[in-house]
Amino acid sequence: MKFFKTAWHNIRRSPYQALAAILVMTLTFLVVSFFTFLIVGSSKVINFFESKPQVTAFFKDEAKQENINALEDQLNSTGKVASMKFVSKEDALRIYRQQNKNDPLLLDLVTADILPASLEIATVKIGDLSSISDMLKRSSIVQEVVFQKDIVSTLINWTTAARRIGLGIIGVLSLVSVFIIVTIIGIKISQKRDDIEIMRLIGASSWYVRWPFLFEGMFYAVVGAIIAWLIASAALVYATPVLSAFLKGIPVFPIPLIFFLGLLGAELLLAIFLGFLSSFLAVLRYLK
């Protein structure tokens, strides 16, 4: 308690240094929060696609209904198809209108003629997707085959790249935060050099002198993490309607409270680690 009191006293003595330390920590943890959202969200999207083995075949405009029926029979005969759904040009238009009902401009421009009819095929096993896809590609009435394996692998590539970039940025920002806190604590130690000398001469142990500085570093990091968590969580909650509409059908939202609490817990642990590390480095460097 006494160490907290001394640390708090030190913080109040130089509010601008404290503000700088808290701001840089806030920035670091904002990036941590947003990349966590991105990585967790994209993982959920990938899981969703992976759990639904599906191929969509878009037909050429000249495709006749009897050719389509023949293709359906051919697919059924393989025994690999779990379900199949034909989406006509009119159905496609209806779906399009439903999805864009709030945007009249987009509705005016599109007619059933420009939308292709399609066949959505779910396979029994994810491993059957390739052979069904090949069969569809060989058909003369099929314009394009959208194979979710491609979507999943593209998503995985993007997520992996985002994760690497995110970790890189978090690493750099963490280093910057550590150096800034080392510098600030170093300045504080220099300012209190006389006090420290006196305390040592009257019998204070090294740890007695060190603890307030260690608490100070942890305080900056923890406050920065809490502020960043509040901002990031509020931003995510605020953006939920827009993101829900964008990820229609994919069960990402609403985000459970436990996720936010878990993130807060993880960020607090990271903050304590970073704060302790920074102030400990400062103490080692300036309190020999």
């Binding site: 006494k2 009257i202 019998g203 007695y208």
Partner: protein, 231 residues
Amino acid sequence: MIKLEKVSKKFGIGPHALSNISISVDKGEFVFLVGPTGSGKTTIFRLIIREMLPTEGSIVVDEWDIINLPKKKIPHLRKKIGVVFQDLKLLTDRTIFENVALPLEVINIKPDEARKRVEEVLSSVGILEHKDKFPLQLSGGELQRTAIARALILSPDILLADEPTGNLDDDTSWEIIKLLSAINEKGTTILMATHNSDIVKKLGKRVVSLDKGLLVGDAKGKHPEKEEEKK
């Protein structure tokens, strides 16, 4: 109680700050360390509290072998020795009460107990009424008393006072000396560095004289005037 044997101290490539000093101080003694500026008085104090190590020789304080004392034991040693520093070393942003309470804070004494103890000590040195003031609001004599109070707060066996009357007028100097004598009478061993020959003569205590780092005299307490005459 305090034993320095063949102690020398050299700083860098300069001359010896102390050369081959041997002094032994018994429990309950009051010893003056006298000598001009640069004679090595403060260096002896700094060696006794292990602020530095001697270049040669051995120092034993009570049961502590200062030379071989592990670093982590230094705080324990310093809690046993009260020091009135030449420059007082009071924290200017803390009140007199807080300055005196600092050693108690370091050993984690409960606030209520600390308050009681600080008030007792401030009262014994006669500055209780100034406890809520800051060092800048006090006179030289009052600041010396504050430094003495802080040195006494842990009831040390040994008190080192480095020029405690240095910048004080005669009357105030005598008040400080009376205070130190009273502390000594209660059993605390005192080593006091001073320039003030009047005080040394009148008090009739043991006088250890230093000059340019050399021990030039060690006069027992009962005949300090004779020792001066010999010189």
